[in-house]
C-alpha cells in the first residue's frame, strides 16, 4: 500500500504541475515589456525591482513613487478590463487582498496573463518581490529580509503594549495574525489585542485594559477622533500618528515602517524609564 502511494503521489503532482503550466501560458520574463499593476503595493514593488519603466498603467490608488502619478489609471476593485486590454500588457499583476473574484476570468477572456501575489503577512513580502522580479524580468533583486533583520529588537519586560487602531468610532484594531502584528513582534512591542484579524474592540475592554501606546494611520484616522476617544474614555496613553501608506502597503517600504515603529517605541521607552 505504502509502496503504491510513493509512486502515485509524485506522478500525480507532476501531472498537476504540467496542467497548471499549460493552463496559464505565462510570458517568458525577457518578453515582458508592458506591465499593468492593480495594487499600490504591487506598483511599489515593481519600481523597487527596477521594473518601473515597464509599468504602463496602475490602479486608481497607486501614487508612489512620484513617477506613478503620471501613469494612466484603470480603476479600483472592479478595474476597467477594456482599457487594460487596449494597453497590450504582457503581464497584469494583482494582489490577492483586493482582487475581485471575476478578475481572472475577465482577463483570461481578454487573453491577458495575470500574476496574483499575496502579501497578507510580513514574511510574504520578500517572496512576493522575488516573484515580481522574476516574472517581470526586472533585474534588481531587493533583499527586504536583510534590512528587516536589522530592525529586530528585544525590549525589556516584553516591550510596551501597543494598539494599532484603523478606525476609532467604532474602534477597529489590528489583531493577531496580521501584517501589523508581525511588525509589532519584529520591533519588540506587544500587541495589546488578543483577537485574530481586524476585530472591533469594545470600549469597555479598552478602558479596563488600555495599551501604553495607541498608533494610528494618519489618513483614515484623524487626530481629533483620537483625542475624542481618549477624552471620552479617560485612559492614560501616548497616541502617535504614522504615515498611512508606509504601514498599509506591504511592499518595499515595510522597512521604513519598521524603522518608524522602532523610533516610536524607543522614544516611549526613553520617557518611561
Amino acid at each position: 500500500m505504502n509502496m503504491e502511494w510513493k509512486f502515485i503521489v509524485p506522478r500525480s503532482s507532476l501531472i498537476a504541475v504540467l496542467a497548471i503550466a499549460c493552463a496559464n501560458p505565462q510570458q517568458a520574463p525577457h518578453d515582458v515589456r508592458r506591465v499593468v499593476s492593480l495594487a499600490p503595493n504591487v506598483t511599489e514593488m515593481l519600481f523597487a525591482c527596477g521594473c518601473g519603466p515597464k509599468v504602463v498603467a496602475t490602479d486608481n490608488f497607486s501614487d508612489y513613487p512620484e513617477a506613478v502619478k503620471r501613469l494612466p489609471k484603470v480603476g479600483g476593485v472592479e478595474p476597467d478590463v477594456e482599457r487594460i486590454a487596449a494597453m497590450h500588457p504582457d503581464l497584469v499583476i494583482a494582489s490577492s487582498s483586493n482582487m475581485h473574484p471575476n478578475l481572472r476570468r475577465a482577463l483570461t477572456a481578454a487573453r491577458l496573463s495575470l500574476l496574483v501575489i499575496t502579501t497578507d503577512r510580513l514574511a510574504d513580502i520578500a517572496p512576493a518581490m522575488q516573484t515580481i522580479e522574476r516574472k517581470g524580468g526586472c533585474g534588481t533583486v531587493v533583499t527586504v529580509n536583510t534590512a528587516l533583520r536589522q530592525q529586530r529588537r528585544v525590549r525589556p519586560k516584553g516591550g510596551p503594549r501597543v494598539m494599532f487602531a484603523v478606525w476609532t468610532d467604532p474602534l477597529y484594531v489590528a489583531g493577531r495574525g496580521t501584517y501589523v502584528d508581525d511588525l509589532l513582534q519584529l520591533t519588540g512591542a506587544r500587541n495589546d489585542v488578543k483577537a485574530q484579524g481586524w476585530p472591533e474592540e469594545s470600549l469597555e475592554t479598552f478602558v479596563a485594559d488600555p495599551p501604553d501606546l495607541l498608533i494610528y494611520p494618519d489618513i483614515s484616522v484623524k487626530k481629533s477622533a483620537v483625542d475624542e476617544l481618549i477624552r471620552r474614555t479617560g485612559v492614560k496613553l501616548v497616541a502617535v500618528a504614522v504615515d498611512e501608506d508606509t504601514f498599509a502597503r506591504p511592499g518595499p517600504r515595510v522597512v521604513d515602517a519598521a524603522a518608524e515603529l522602532n523610533r516610536i517605541l524607543d522614544s516611549w521607552e526613553a520617557s518611561h524609564r
Binding site: E78, E82, A86, S96, H100, P101, A110
Partner: protein, 318 residues
Amino acid sequence: MIRAIVVLVVILLIAIIAAATFGTATVSWRGVLAGDVTARTVMLDIRLPRVLLAALVGAALAAAGVSFQSLLRNSLADPFILGVSGGAACGAAIVTALGLARLPGVVSVVAFVGAIVATAAVIVLARRREYIDPTRLLLSGLVLNALFTAIILIAYALAPESDLTMALRWMMGTLFGATWSDVLVLLGFVIVTFAVLVAIAGDLRMLAFGEDDAKSRGVDVERIKLIGFGAASIVTGAAVAVSGIIGFVGLLVPHLIRLIWRRDFRALLPLSALGGAILLVLADLASRVALPSGELPIGAFTAILGVPFFLSLLRRGR
C-alpha cells in the same frame, strides 16, 4: 401588440449597438472588421458579452416582476418585496462572512440557491389547506425580508474587512467581468422560464379577473400559481447570480409598459422583457462610461434613467 413588440425590438437593437460601440477604450467596429486584435478583444470578448448579459438580466427581472404582479393581482409585487432577491443577497452575505466570497463562482451559486430557498419558504408560509393566499404571500415575503436584512447585517459585521468593498459592490449590482459563458447560462434560464410563462400566459390573464372567476373558467388556479411563482423565482435567482442585486427593474418596467400600452398579461410579458432589456443595456452603458476609469453601480442608473421617464408618464396619464 405586434407593432409595440417591433418598436421595442428596434429600440433594443439600437441600444445594444450603441452600448457595444461606446466604452472607455477607443476602438471601432471598423477595427473589428479589419481584424485589429485590440478592437476584437475589447469589443467581442469584453464589451459585447457584458452588453448582452445586461439585456438578459433586464429581461429576466422585468418578466419576473410582471409575473409576480399578475399572480398576486398586486401592482407592488416584485422580486424584492417577495424576498426572492433578499434570499439571494442573504446567501451571498453568509458566504462573504465565511471568507469564501473570493472563490470564483461561489457567490453566484449560493445566491441562486438562496433565491430558490426563499421562494420555497415564502410559499410554504403562505399556503394553507392547498390554497396560496396572495396577501399572506406578500406578508410572508416582507417579514422574511426583515429576517434576511438582519442576517445580512450580522454577516457583514463578521466578514473580513478586505472583502466588504466587493460585497457592497455586489449588493449595488455589477456586471464586472461578464463572459460569454455567463451569457449562455443565463440565456438558457431565460428561454426555459419564458417558455413556461408563455405556456401559462392565458391562464394568468384569467387570474387577473379574480381567482373565483378563473376557477369557473376551468383554470387550475393553485397549480398555475405554483408554476408561475417557481418560474419567475428561478429566473430572478439566475439573474441575481450573474449581476448581484439590481433593484427596481421588476417594479418599474411593467408599470411603464402598462402606462404606455395598457395591455393584458400575454402582451405585458414580452413587452416588459424587452423594456427591461433596453433599460439595463442603457444603464450599464451609463455606468461604464460615467467615469474616466472604473465604474459606477448599475443599479443607481436604472433608477436615474427610469424614474424621470416613469414620473412624466404618470403625470401625463392623470
